[in-house]
Amino acid sequence: MKHLAWIVALGGTLCLGLDGQVKLPSYTREVLANGTVVYFVQRTALPLVSFRVVVKGGQESEPAGMAGLSAATAELLRRGTSGRTANQFAEDLDGLGGSFLALEDEQSTAIAAEFLKKDFDAGLKMVADAVLHPSFPPEEVRKTLARRGDGLKAAKDNPNMAITSYYRSFFFGSGHPYGRMADEASIDRIRRDDIVAYHDRMYVGRNLIVVVAGDFDPAAARARVAETFGGAPSGDAYRWAADQEPPPNSSPRVLLIDKPDATQTYFVIGQPGVRRSTADRVPLTLVNLLFGGRFTSMLNEALRVHSGLTYGASCRVEMARLTGGIAISTYTKTETTEKAMDMALDVLKQFSERGLTAEQLASGKASLKGTYPPQHLQTAEQIATTLGEMEIFGLGRDEVDQFFQRVDAVTLEQANAAARKYYRNANLTFVILGNAAKIRSVAAKYGPAVVEKSVKQAGWAANGSIL
């Protein structure tokens, strides 16, 4: 491969306004008597229908010490329901050629399912059965939790994945919801009663968003959704916590993870960022694209294109409900760890001090607009995801419909102000994974003290498991 995906996808059916601005296709939004918010959006290019059920809460809503509870609950939805055993559910789903996935993020759980148009009724019933009436058979609960525990072990065999968990745990700390990563201890602590209680509390009308997208008969669809999801108890809407910022560093902090057989070093350099609702989201998305969000970004140009130190270097701005991080990440062979880290820091410093040129900004605008619609509005599922996010984050359709104008309106001064404000090069958090014996002295360069942990130790947290 030339590179790992920089999120590239095109195609689909986006709608172009007369001004060249992409628009969301027409959709309806209604609130059922029990509080469930329902969206319908029709896309008839293929005879398929997609159901996306979003449950508010996600990682943020997990009780202390129970990291992994929302994901385990979601995985178990289909493993036994009021109407079907786990095996019957699997047989029925596969028999229809349907798909059913449970996904989790910082603030929500999403169930994404897809069926043929002709199976609308059967598909919707299966989804509602799983989401609203799971029976959580004790044996299935036991098996799922045991598998998740082993899954954590397997994750540590994949350093490119593991570094993210180590980074989040260290950067946010146990006091921030985003720092509580599921580990062996938290999975071990979860009981069936916790899962049942979590489901009873969170999978309720006032906490549900249902998006139906694709090819269907609108009147019949409305009636079927009311019959199924309209029957859920109203319950209480999840009460979002107040925003919480990652703990600020008073000096640089360094975590070194020892994996003695590693032949390359993986590292993340993090600093506090923004939340999704920030007024700076468009300029920040634009400047991050140029700094570390595309193949010709400053980071990738420096560390890959011009020096060959790595296969890829990037920077991600977390856009979640609570304030998250801005994280540079890359990897390089053990011997060039210091060179690559210094280079990443140098690119950061240059960007912070010098910002962008007008030419760079124009290129960023073209590429953001050229790639945005295909990534968000291409298929029925993408539109469903976009609508679900709008609802979760309390955004209006102008978020999409005026996106191009907002991108075009960003001035060079605004872009450079965002670069100066968010890309600082002091008091950073460093998480480094590699052969510690060879890079220990390098790690010591970046902060007054280095916290060390081995991949063989349980958990992700620097000081054992988080309670």
């Binding site: 491969m1 030339k2 995906a5 590239v8 996808a9 095109l10 195609g11 689909g12 059916t13 172009l16 290019a45 293929l46 005879p47 095996n87 559910f89 699997a90 047989e91 029925d92 789903l93 596969d94 028999g95 229809l96 050629g97 349907g98 798909s99 043929l116 059967a122 098996k143 045991a146 082993d150 899954g151 072990k153 540590k156 065999d157 994949n158 350093p159 490119n160 994996k259 057989d261 032949t263 390359q264 595309r294 193949f295 010709t296 140009e301 294109v305 020096s307 060959g308 790595t310 296969y311 990897y331 124009a362 073209a366 590429s367 050229g370 790639t371 295909p374 291409q378 298929t379 991949v455």
Partner: protein, 437 residues
């Protein structure tokens, strides 16, 4: 819902989107599917050259070349391809397999002519700058460290395939052996370019907001003048029949073991491919599949299990990958796999289960048609591996035609002990290794 009904065939729907083709005098085949629902285009160039066209000493060169194609040509110099792409709202990537090298461009339709200009520039006049080559060598080595050296699955797969293929070029990894990555020379690169990068060795697929006549005008203008060349030499070596199980182990510090089991099977054009695909689906797709139910759910031997056969020009392997649970003897998981394979060869698959597997296979196939890039990739892959893009439109019928007896026959024929290679990753404690050293 206890009965499983036949999935409605969507093939007519796909065919309804008219696909047109023409071949230039220099041998470049162009396949176009117009789709004006969106103002975007997917432009895919399939070059018929991959790691099977390499030799010992230059393994990985096709993949390295995939990288070099982005490092400048005559008109668009170093970095210009990506810069122009970004400036015009486009995006790109590329991939290399054992059989082909594919360049994938996605862009607003307003950039179509620019794309033809850039693609023809690098097809004809690639630049070879020694400094750039050294830098890119580092990038490719980093990719290898990421996907093989520091990946248990990648390292085990490399060992398994090198063991299953002794003679045929599928023996070596697409990314190349480390010592070859370190040693390619400028002459190797130039020879490879001459061997593979010519219009008559390329298939150009364009799907999206274009007009067929407009595409052909641009193809003639920009690619028409590029001369044809000799195509890569025929790959003569055929893998001899395997006569006995081969077992290898990989010792590596790891939390969990891993197992790969490979069986030799024919190439994609074989009549046995559809039954093997159906078989792979009923074994490994979905939580109702036989291997998931047995190994992951009932016996709780594995975290995950999958089995698949990919596209290939030459006879290849059907690969199973098992991630055993902690505390599970990998041999127990391996035995459970063999039990399930033996059942397939001795007991007829029930009609409902066969129907289910076909529905899954067809549904997954059609899901790839949702996007213009999905269709561009399928059209090109069918052209290269199935002997013609039009085979895509009858793929559903071929799956439908598979009978229970076909599944039973291919299971018996290919899933034998003598035809198999087993590679096991055995977790090793780092301290133990240091002592023995």
């Amino acid at each position: 819902m206890r009965t499983i009904v036949t999935l409605v065939l969507l093939a007519p729907l796909v065919a309804a989107q008219e696909t047109r083709t023409a071949t230039l005098d220099n041998g470049l085949k162009v396949i176009v599917q117009e789709d004006h629902a969106i103002p975007n285009v997917a432009m895919y160039l399939f070059y018929r050259i991959g790691s099977r066209n390499e030799r010992p000493g230059t393994t990985g060169l096709s993949h390295f070349f995939e990288h070099m194609m982005f490092n400048g040509a005559q008109k668009y110099g170093f970095g210009q391809f990506d810069k122009q792409m970004d400036d015009h709202g486009g995006n790109n990537n590329a991939y290399t397999t054992r059989d082909d090298t594919v360049y994938t461009d996605w862009f607003p339709s307003s950039a179509l002519e620019l794309m033809f200009d850039m693609e023809s520039d690098r097809m004809r006049d690639l630049a070879f700058d020694p400094k750039v080559i050294e830098s890119e060598r580092g990038v490719v080595y980093s990719e290898r460290r990421l996907s093989v050296d520091n990946s248990n699955a990648g390292a085990l797969r490399e060992l398994a395939e090198a063991t299953a293929f002794e003679a045929h070029p599928y023996h070596w990894p697409v990314v190349g052996w480390p010592s070859d990555i370190e040693s390619w020379t400028m002459d190797d690169l130039k020879a490879h370019f001459r061997m593979g990068y010519a219009p008559n060795n390329c298939v150009l697929v364009i799907v999206g907001d274009v007009k067929f006549d407009g595409v052909m005008d641009l193809a003639r203008k920009y690619m028409g003048p590029i001369p044809r060349q000799a195509t890569p030499p025929e790959v003569r070596t055929k893998e001899p029949e395997q006569r006995g199980e081969r077992r290898v182990t990989l010792s590596k510090p790891a939390q969990l073991p891993m197992i790969m089991v490979l069986y030799h099977v024919p190439d994609t054009k074989s009549a046995d491919t559809p039954p093997l695909q159906v078989l792979g689906t009923l074994l490994g797709t979905g939580q109702s599949s036989r291997l998931y139910r047995r190994l992951v759910d009932t016996d709780q031997l594995a975290l995950s299990v999958n089995g698949m056969v990919g596209n290939s020009l030459d006879p290849s392997t059907f690969n199973f990958m098992i991630q055993p649970r902690s505390g599970v003897d990998p041999a127990a998981a391996e035995k459970a796999l063999y039990d399930e394979l033996a059942k397939l060869g001795s007991e007829e698959v029930p009609a409902a289960e066969l129907r289910k597997a076909k529905n899954q296979l067809l549904a997954n196939h059609y899901r790839q048609l949702k996007t213009i890039e999905g269709r561009a990739n399928l059209l090109g892959s069918y052209e290269l591996f199935h002997g013609g893009y039009e085979k895509l439109f009858t793929a559903g019928e071929e799956v439908e035609a598979v009978k229970a007896a076909d599944v039973e026959r291919v299971a018996r024929q290919y899933f034998t002990a003598r035809n198999r290679t087993v590679a096991t990753l055995v977790p090793e404690r780092p301290e133990a290794r240091e002592v023995t050293q």
